[in-house]
Amino acid sequence: MNTDQLLCTFTVADKNYGVIVDNVQEVLANHQITDIPLAPPGVMGLMNIRGRIVPAIALRKVLRLAEKVRSDDEDDEDTIFNIIINHDGEQVGLMVDQIGDIITINPEEIEPPPETLKGAARRFMYGVFSVQDTLHLLLDLDTLLDDEMCTRSLSESTRSVLQ
């Protein structure tokens, strides 16, 4: 029995991704983020979402994509979207460049990632699906949020420097 899967698509550094909508709570634009000193490199800071403190994950960093180049003439380029995900009873925000659509997909249409896909991207990929002839990568949140970019505080590396 194949039940259709709802996916939320988005782009980071002009690449297309998707997550399963069941986990998505809401999408926020330009939400205030507070820095956390010594946080894991992939954790950009903390957001206040109606009284709950939610970490914001920089997908660019975790997916090892190029840093965003700031363009002064295009102001609307600076909009940062946060997809708030419920994961393991906790909320996290995924920082993305653009929000796409909510699409319906048959799980059979999700194909395994191609052999040519290498590196960080491959590690976090659950599979590949296509929307209007554009290939999207479906992210596996469990591996993504377990990655050392998200979990390993700077403390360990800095500690060795300090001593």
């Binding site: 205030q32 507070t34 009284g51 393991d88 996290v92 979990t151 505080s153 001593q163």
Partner: protein, 745 residues
Amino acid sequence: MPQNDKALQSFLIESDENLAQLEQDIVALERAPDDSDCVASAFRAIHTIKGTCGFFGFSHLEALTHLLEDILGAMRDGHLKMDLDAAAALLDGIDEIRVFLKHINNEGNDGKAAPDELMARLHALVPEKSATEPAVVIPEPGVETTTAVTVSEASDDDQPHHENEGESGELDHEEHEAGAELSSTAAPTPTESTVRVDVVLLDKLMNVVGELVLTRNQLLQHAASQNDSQLVNLSQRLNLVTSELQEGLMQTRMQPIRNAWATYPRLLRDLEKKTGKKVNPTLKGGDTELDRSLLEAIRDPLIHLVRNAVDHGIESPEVRLAAGKPEAGSLTLSAYHESGNVTVEISDDGKGLDSKKIVRRAIEAGLLHPDQVDSLTEREKIRYIFQPGFSTAETVNDLSGRGVGLDVVRNNVERIGGSIDIKSTPGQGTTFKLKIPLTLAIVPALIVRCLHQRFAIPQVNLLEVVYVEADKLDEDIQTVHDALVYRLRGRLLPLVDMRTLMHMGTPDKQHDQFILVLTADQQEFGLLVDDVRDTEEIVVKPLGRLLKDNPCFAGATIMGDGRVALILDVKSTADFAGVTRQDRKLNQQANMDDRTHQPINVAENYLLVRPNEQTGRSAIALSKVSRLEEIRIDSIEYSAGREVIQYRGKILPLIRLGNNISTDDEDNEMIRIVVQPTEFGEVGLVVNDIIDIVSDNTANIERVAQSDGVLGAGILQGHVTDFIDSDALIRHYRDQNNNGGHDEH
């Protein structure tokens, strides 16, 4: 079936409460077997459990509770008297019921029957079946009152020798009450005024109210900036309502501390049995309320302290009698509110703590340097029992054990934002004083700014705030090889610059700074921040899984403007900054097996210097350094053939550390001196170079008789290093001068 689950759950909770009551009553009865109140109360408790487990069909549990009920029923009716054997058997029975309840909680059924041996012991206690049998089996709560009364009258007639007239009358009266209450427990009456609430629901409500409070704060800020009187009025009303709601909800979470104390009578009884000591407990202020999560958090520390007081504080009856004290030791637990905190005191009238032994042990464990002892107050000395080193004590003396696990107790108390203090008078007793905040979720904190960010520093860790003006920065804050120090009332306070530590940016030398003097693990350090704002009551929120190993922050809070501020974990920050090195010292102590070396405990920071052009290194105890100066070589003058400089309006004699009076100083314009206070006034040690400040000290100093003024040599940071004995050096210098017929004074 979820409904059944709920009923089962409330059966478990209720039974747990009833068991606690039962246990208390039995222990009380053991001391005063004639207390009919207690008998009645114990009977009611077991009767309720028995009744309900019959309803659920837990036959094994029912058999056991039935037996206990029989025994207590017989006691109630005066056929049986509580004695030590009976109490022991009943308590074992209670333990067994707990095993059943646990099994029911895990598996949903009552499993195997209770051990035969226990059942036999209990059976043996039940008196011969007699005419009083109906009193034991209570068919219906409704008729209970009358049955009980008639039976008790009958029993009084049967055994008139058992009680005297007055007592039996009283007993009769009690029976009426017991019967009446029994029927009220069996069928809830309309006067029931309490409701059981799920803790998860309460927590959730607490969170929602927290949000409401924050929204209120934001609205108030907004309304204040608006010129709308209607809005201001409304927001004021909202303000009042929210505060009331918050307060009310907080109160629902409050529980009297008596709940935590309920287990003590049993605990003390078992301890008395085990140690052969006698203890008279006094519990005061049981009505004092605090948040249930805090109550949970201090339950174990309190039990530990009580156990500790009996095990190690209170002496055996013989020793007590010999010391002219009453045979039974007294143990007092009292709780009361004090300046926004709850204070719990546990005091015994035992032998007290011997600060000399504690100090000796602390020195052995490498926690304390012998030189430091004199500067410690009595209170500071006994506080060493809270150090982790004491829990690994191997030395067998009467002190050992007193400290076992006390570091854990302290940690647990400090984790919830509390503090623990200790007072002790040798021969008269010891008092542990715990200060606990009223609630866990809300903490008073100082809000500080560092660069563009705000941080919250819990008030419990804050000692004082020192203000340093921008143009005084270089003068007041000294740097030794990247290590910052500040001289606070004569002591060198290690400083940590928050920006450097947390990789936030470079220190700011343009603006005024603040030093927060913080305490962690009894060690003080200063944290350099940009600005100090307000003190605020902040709502603590967890950081979540991704940030759980962050070395500096304990949580986060939401400020009035809706932004997030991080809460500093002072203890972890100190560890991270390397201010506290306790663990390492202990490890070294454990590794110090090689007894050919004469170990000298070096539990302090050292200034590492290069005395002369050669590559040799020397270490000077940092506590003996008052300042580091760079002076021009041409400012050196001579007095009595000795080098001196004019320093702060005085003459400062110089001592060359390397035995090379004349070097090619002409090449260097500046020389570095380490200013040290001595009994003869300040002197300056001339060194070639200052290398570092080290507190990591794996050096076993070997006493090599090299020259005067050198304590010995050891390996520090992988290099052979001479340890300077400043006192000897100065004495040597003085002697030379005196021999020369000159006097410095």
